[in-house]
Amino acid sequence: MEKSVKGLMIAIVAAAGGAFAGAWATPMAGQAPAAYRAPRTADGKPDLNGIWQANNEANYDIEMHMARPALALRPGPYGPVAAAPVLALGAVGSVPPGVGIVEGGAIPYKPEALAKRKENLDKWLDRDPEVKCYLPGVPRANYMPQPFQILQSPSAVFFAYQYAGAVRNIYLKDPGPAPVDSWMGQSVGRWEGETFVIEASGFNDSTWFDRSGNFHSDQMKVVERWTRTGADVLSYEATITDPETFTRPWKISMPLYRRLEKNAQLMDFKCVEFVEELLYGAYRKKPLSRE
């Protein structure tokens, strides 16, 4: 009796350990088993159509990070506390922890770029383009905490993002270098077997990777790989190259999940309207109190 209980316990521990080891051994998104064959669109390509969303904390900080009291901090008597402008938000304004999406853990910043990243973090409230409802750029658009829709036909691939109503038309024929820099860049896509590969370039230097000051220059190029790895999972990988900011190309990866609600759809998030008081309120004829 005692023996059999002990045996059972060992079995449970072994099973738990196995599950634990199994969790660690789970392939990163992108190294998905090749066995899955995605449903096809009319022209025989893997079907990426649908409403997708990341389920992670990358928009707070793409690197692995612990929870912190707030996005904007100031020194407290025993460690950092929420800065005055965000204090009233309490726990709502705190940063949830995240395992990160950067392969290898840390972003390979050049020393001077790392210093700027720290400065960005210190001045987050003034500098994060998301605070002002600016277009999110790439790759950030793909892991904002809001859904986006891929519309894929034989002649077009189009991304509509709920956040700020951002859009990307993915050219299927390369029009040549982008004539002018833009927030969402210029995207050119092609199929490599099961994977839709997008080469995105022509970015300005004004978008960030997250709410933690991670940034890039206008030299950035992003190569994205989109692969269906299950009925409701889309593996996303992006390789970021920007010699002005980073010592080498680096990669992020994450699964994206289908929004399975029966009535899943993009709704309005025209945040321009929401930031008018912040940006222009001081110039009202009768300014509202800011206290």
Partner: protein, 356 residues
């Protein structure tokens, strides 16, 4: 003939005409794999044809009138493109008082403007107005209630309004008091002139490109200004009435070879031409040939107009590429416009006390 029979006869004739039109176009238009017309492409909606036409004038332009109008448009462009004289004097303080951007202190020159150079062509004929119903080409009268409502809301700009470039200076009391009093285009919330719609209208100024991407479940209509993507959910139900959207909630279905898009659930922030949030729009997209789509829209809001009204025009395909229209991100003008108004008020107050 008995009224009822006359109606049946008319219906038969109409259905024959529709059938023959369908048969004629069926072979020549591009189709998607599921057999529906392929509406995809990029379209340039810049054109000369206005929404309404002069009372009593015909829908179809004579060749002579069309040529005249298009010649005048070309002449305006040529003169606008002519180099300015290097020794020209500065514009007078406050503008010269004439209407239009060139008349006051100056806005865009013609390099930036792409207002259209041709009238829209439907059934091979150039059109004098988008409106086809009422047959006189005029938007129906507003109900008395609607007129009162619009008069009360005079300080709340609507989606069809432009940035008031035609108003040299001042738009009435309080127009610069708050950001919410500025036109939606100026606030970068939507393009001006109902460019995103619905109804999608030419804005007769610039950035009139639109793109359609079509899948079996969803069709997106992208408006260049301000990167507004309206996703039409196919064979879906409308959102509950409590949920409202800037461009309304659009659901679609195929009626033979025509895509019918039904839109409700508008907000009270766009108020197209003074309508209420209960505006109901029906748009019909019909592929005419490889290079054009016929766009027909019916506007209905019994609280605003005494009857529904319908317009149509051709969306011509273009090979032009559509670039990002980031607006808000560079909207330094919005803050400066309001700040300028505050400075002017301070100035005026100082002058007043100085004069006493």
């Amino acid at each position: 003939m008995d009224k009822k029979y006359r109606f049946v006869a008319a219906a038969i004739v109409a259905s024959f005409a529709a059938a023959s039109l369908a048969a004629q176009s069926k072979s020549s238009i591009p189709r998607t794999k599921d057999g529906h017309p392929d509406l995809q492409g990029t379209y340039d909606l810049a054109m000369l044809t206005p929404v309404e036409r002069a009372a009593g004038s015909p829908l179809v332009l004579t060749d002579e009138d069309a040529k005249k109008g298009e010649r005048q448009a070309l002449a305006r462009k040529v003169s606008g493109d002519a180099p300015l004289k290097g020794d020209r004097p500065a514009p007078p303080v406050g503008g010269d008082g004439s209407a239009g951007p060139a008349g006051n202190v100056g806005g865009y020159n013609s390099f930036w403007i792409d207002a259209g150079s041709q009238y829209t062509v439907v059934d091979g004929r150039k059109r004098a107005s988008l409106l086809i119903d009422p047959p006189d080409g005029r938007v129906p009268q507003m109900t008395p209630d609607a007129r009162q409502r619009v008069a009360r809301n005079v300080n709340r700009p609507t989606s069809d309004q432009t940035a008031r470039e035609d108003d040299p200076g001042f738009e009435g009391n309080g127009a610069y008091d708050d950001p919410e009093r500025r036109p939606l285009g100026e606030r970068c919330l939507m393009g001006f002139g109902s460019t995103s719609g619905p109804p999608v209208l030419p804005n007769y100024f610039y950035n009139n490109l639109h793109q359609i991407v079509q899948t079996p479940d969803s069709i997106v209509i992208l408006t260049e200004m301000v990167h507004d993507a309206r996703v039409v959910r196919m064979n879906a139900e409308h959102l509950p009435p409590a949920v409202r959207k800037w461009m309304g909630d659009s659901v679609g279905r195929w009626d033979g070879d025509t895509l019918v898009v039904d839109t409700t659930n508008f907000t009270d922030k766009t108020r197209f031409r003074g309508s209420t949030q209960n505006l109901h729009m029906v748009e019909r997209f019909t592929r005419v040939d490889a290079k054009s789509v016929l766009y027909r829209f019916t506007v209905e809001d019994p609280a605003t107009w005494t009857r529904p009204w319908t317009g149509e025009y051709t969306w011509p395909a273009t090979d032009e590429l559509l670039y990002e229209y980031a607006c808000h991100e560079g909207n330094y003008a919005m803050g400066n416009i309001l700040r300028g108004a505050r400075l002017k008020e301070a100035d005026d107050a100082k002058k007043k006390t100085g004069g006493n």
